[in-house]
């Protein structure tokens, strides 16, 4: 269901979504020193996937995420908690963070790692999971109301016009 008739929307949504995902990863990693971070990256990534789902239809979901998004939330909470447990074990205080910085790392120049990154990854996963799960649940609830017209936001066209092309199966879409 859902899924637009518009070829242009579907193709551009795939592109935009890809760009948004890259942007989300970028936001995630710059978080500690520049505007960004797990929460924002999570929302961005969630929106990106939502765009894909809305343009290609509900059937798209198993292709981009082959399991229940709620699992992401669970893993996220676990990761965030575990990153805090490190501090609990090492210094006895929950959520004390540790950092590792190497200015002379082969190939990458300088790298910076630390438990805050794991914590942020947890936040990221939870946010992505929440955004997706809520949207999917809403979509499913919507699906059960059969009276909704299915083409509410397709391109306007005249009475009796044939769509430019038949909606394809999601597999062939994702191949492009």
């Amino acid at each position: 269901m859902l899924g637009s008739d518009s070829f242009i929307l579907r193709r551009s949504a795939t592109m935009i979504s890809l760009i948004v995902q890259i942007f989300a990863v970028y936001l995630f990693f710059r978080g500690h020193n520049l505007p960004g971070g797990g929460f924002i990256a999570g929302v961005a990534s969630g929106i990106g996937m939502l765009l894909l789902i809305l343009s290609h239809g509900r059937e798209m979901v198993p292709l981009i995420l082959p399991f229940d998004p709620l699992r992401l939330c669970g893993w996220g909470l676990l990761l965030a908690t575990l990153s805090g447990v490190v501090g609990l074990v090492v210094s006895g205080a929950f959520l004390t963070h540790y950092h590792y910085k190497d200015d002379d790392f082969p190939f990458l120049g300088s790298i910076y790692l630390g438990t805050p990154l794991i914590f942020d990854l947890g936040v990221f996963l939870v946010v992505v999971g929440v955004v997706l799960k809520i949207s999917l649940v809403l979509l499913d609830a919507l699906q059960r109301h059969q009276s909704v017209e299915m083409t509410a936001f397709s391109l306007p066209r005249g009475e009796g016009d044939e769509p430019l092309e038949r909606p394809e199966s999601p597999e062939s879409n994702s191949a492009s």
């Binding site: 500690h32 960004g36 924002i40 939502l50 909470l77 947890g122 929440v130 649940v137 909704v148």
Partner: protein, 786 residues
């Protein structure tokens, strides 16, 4: 305790967790018969450790093992308390666990795919129980305590295709968690009054607080928690309904270990609260009242497991009451009564499970004549039931003898109320004798029922071995009282037990009053049984007015109706009813105090460039806001709202808050997509709401204008009174050196206030679960749909 002993104890506590993870990680092996053959070694090893500690004499002294502090500022820490009581319960949990692990392998014979899940829950329960009984800190005890409740919930609802199992699990969870909340409140009150949560310290400080009211209230609340867990009146209804669980669970959790936690807690707080005046009357009436009530209900039941469940309730009542009347100097032989119950009730539950396993029948009225088919089981059941009834030669007899002696001593104190325990105990014991007779005679004797033998298959020896072993213990404990006494002596706990206890022996002489009463109980019980036999046990079950569980279920079922009534009463179904009320109240409450404070207002300072942008954004914002009022459709209004959201970003950029601006843009985008594409397509929102009258509209307009003015004033007030040293500066300064990050917003989120963030994402997940429940549970064609 020495270092080796400490590390052994800690290893024993961690072992179940390790086994649990290993079981989960072991892939296909865990779905074969393997776990059933091997996993009993886990509780057996733990039993070995505890046994060794007892041999080393750790049971007669009190030692605290502080591990590490968790929230040091609040005095919450992992610490173990090792004394006779915790070692005794630890041994019961792990020893009984060993037998149950073996029994489970036989019970699920041929259904090996169940092993992984079932054993995982059992190991989780084992770990939680050990944590509870060894806790040295009341708050930690509470956390472990609730974990056992959770394990019990999983295990009762294990056969989740069964409605009874689901409802039983729900009832058990709601009851124990609600009473658990009382326990938490009580623990907090006690801890805050005394300034520590450590049990050992509380024991030392207890005499100072006997007159303090919070102390007494805390005591009552803790007792409620204990009563809920141990199924004491008025919470006795959940335990029989928990019997929908597989039998290993009933034998382990709901007779031998978990339900004894209430008794354990009473024993644990005995040294702390015994000096209170309220101790004796409360525990005595509730405990012995439950003893008689439970016995009566057991007599009225027909289902095998219900009979045993109510008799468990009854025995737990006795134990609670026993601690109630124990003198403040210390209790005698309380552990004898507990261990006696563990032996015979565990064995009987296993027997019932085996009968169910081989005949498929759960109702005593349909059974009969199984003696020839199950000869070994017959002896096991007879001896264990004899112990339940208190026939001479069993541990049950010893237990009853000493409990009667105790009651008689108590009687001689002379007050009228002191006759209550002995009266209730005699009544309860008579009834117990009657249903014990019925239990044996109706299952194993009489004519063989066709139903029972139709699908009969012989149980394996493996499954019969654990109850056999328990019966051997029952008989050994009863026939060798000297040894029993010696073993129990090794668990003498300072503060709980009197240092000198009367010697255990079987024979006190023909004329000892306890013996005479004991014998007459057996005789009267037999007469009662014979009288009931003439009615042919024809009643349908427990009469409805005695069934508290029916009332409970009704209450739970009516809860949604009550919620709906409240909702309609307050008019919260649609914002057009309640939003004006809330806003008007807010307006008056916040606005009125502001009148007359005009002189404090000042405009924030803008420099030239930003003033232009700010003004431009403000004009656009106002325009968008005005447009909402006159927009013709939902969709246009939502888009305009989105516009406002995006325009606000201007200000975030202006005040150099790029993080906020980014978040605002992304969240606004997500909200818009959700609203436009999904939510507004629900049919309920397709038509416009009904027209409001002109009067309502004008009132709403006045309120809206008032709120607008109020917010403007508030903004001006709040921005003009900035703190002399804003908190933000500190964070900015500390961000790089302490959190190793130059973006202070992010370091606050993940580091300085990381705990907040952790809980916030937790709340996010909980909210999602709520949304799932609200949206997916609604059935087609219900009141709200369409």
């Amino acid at each position: 305790m020495t270092g080796t002993e400490n590390s052994l104890l800690i290893a024993a506590m961690i072992l179940p967790w390790v086994a649990m993870i290993a079981l989960q990680a072991s892939g296909r092996w865990s779905k074969s018969a393997g776990p059933g053959r091997v996993l009993w070694l886990v509780p057996a090893a733990i039993t070995g450790v505890f046994g060794w500690l007892v041999v080393k004499g750790a049971g007669t002294s009190l030692s605290s093992v502080p591990l590490f502090s968790w929230v040091a500022s609040q005095g919450i820490g992992f610490s173990f308390q090792v004394d006779g009581l915790s070692l005794f319960f630890g041994l019961v949990v792990s020893g009984m666990g060993t037998l149950i692990f073996v029994y489970t392998a036989g019970y699920f014979e041929g259904k090996t795919e169940e092993f992984r899940k079932f054993y995982t829950y059992l190991l989780f329960f084992l770990a939680a129980m050990l944590g509870t009984v060894f806790s040295g800190n009341l708050l930690m005890l509470y956390i472990w305590w609730e974990m056992t409740g959770l394990a019990s919930f999983f295990l009762i609802g294990y056969l989740h295709n069964n409605k009874e199992a689901r409802e039983g699990a729900r009832m058990a969870l709601i009851t124990t968690i609600t009473t658990g909340m009382c326990l938490l409140a009580g623990v907090l009150l006690i801890g805050l009054t005394a300034g520590t949560f450590e049990i050992a310290e509380l024991m030392a400080m207890a005499p100072e607080f006997t007159d303090s009211t919070p102390w007494k209230i805390g005591f009552i609340l803790i007792l409620i928690g204990a009563f809920g867990k141990s199924a004491q009146f008025p919470f006795h209804y959940w335990l029989p309904n928990a019997m929908a669980a597989p039998t290993p669970v009933s034998a382990y959790l709901h007779s031998a270990t978990m339900v004894k936690l209430g008794v354990f807690l009473v024993a644990r707080i005995f040294p702390i609260f015994r000096p209170l005046d309220a101790w004796e009357p409360i525990l005595m009436t509730i405990g012995f009242g439950t003893f008689a009530l439970g016995a009566t209900l057991a007599l009225l039941s027909h289902k095998l497991k219900a009979i045993l469940a109510f008799s468990t309730v009854s025995q737990l009542g006795f134990l609670v009451g026993f601690y109630g009347i124990s003198p403040s100097g210390g209790a005698h032989w309380d552990l004898l009564h507990i261990v006696n119950h563990v032996f015979y009730k565990g064995a009987l539950f296993m027997v019932v499970g085996i009968i169910d396993h081989s005949t498929g029948i759960k109702d005593i009225r349909k059974l009969g004549g199984l003696r020839k088919h199950l000869p070994l089981l017959f002896w096991v059941a007879t001896l264990s039931t004899a112990s339940m009834a208190g026939v001479i030669g069993t541990t049950g007899f010893l237990s009853k003898e000493y409990m009667l002696k105790e009651k008689l001593d108590y009687l001689s104190d002379g007050v009228f109320l002191n006759a209550l325990p002995i009266t209730l105990v005699i009544i309860g014991s008579v009834i117990k004798m009657a249903f014990s007779l019925r239990f044996i005679l109706h299952i194993f004797f009489g004519e063989t029922s066709k139903e029972a033998t139709a699908h009969f298959h012989k149980p394996s020896f493996l499954i019969q071995f654990p109850p056999l072993l328990l019966t051997v213990f029952t008989m050994a404990g009863g026939l060798l009282p000297g040894v029993t006494g010696l073993v129990l002596k090794a668990f003498t706990t300072p503060g709980l037990h009197a240092p000198e206890a009367p010697k255990l022996k079987i024979w006190h002489g023909l004329t000892s009053p306890a013996f005479l009463i004991s014998m007459s109980i057996l005789a009267v019980g037999t007469i009662l049984y014979l009288m009931l036999e003439r009615t042919r046990w024809r009643w349908e079950g427990i009469p409805i007015w005695l069934r508290a569980d029916a009332a409970f279920t009704k209450g739970i079922d009516n809860l949604p109706a009550f919620g709906g009534w409240i909702t309609r009463l307050l008019g919260v179904e649609h914002p057009k009813f309640h939003a004006p009320v809330i806003l008007a109240v807010g307006l008056l409450w916040v606005g009125l105090p502001l009148i007359g404070q005009w002189s404090h207002l000042s405009l924030p300072a803008f420099d030239g460039d930003s003033l232009f942008i700010a003004a431009l954004a403000a004009i656009l914002l106002v325009c968008a806001g005005m447009c909402i009022l006159f927009a013709p459709s939902w969709r246009a209004q939502v888009i305009l709202m989105g516009t406002i959201g995006f325009l606000v970003t201007f200000y975030f950029v202006l005040y150099r808050a790029p993080d906020l601006a980014l978040t605002q843009i992304l969240v606004e985008a997500a909200t818009l997509i959700l609203l436009l594409v999904i939510i507004l397509r629900f049919p309920q929102l397709q038509h416009r709401p009904c027209k409001l009258s002109a009067l309502t509209k004008s009132v709403n307009a006045v309120i809206a204008l008032g709120i607008g003015v109020l917010m403007t004033v508030l903004t001006l007030v709040l921005t003009s009174t900035r703190a002399a040293r804003p908190l933000g500066d500190d964070y900015l300064a500390a961000s790089l050196p302490k959190a190793k990050g130059s973006n202070a917003v992010n370091t606050i989120l993940v580091d300085f206030r990381g705990f907040d963030t952790l809980l916030e994402i937790g709340v996010l997940v909980i909210a999602t679960l709520g949304i799932i429940g609200l949206l997916l549970r609604r059935k087609e064609g219900s009141r709200h749909a369409g």
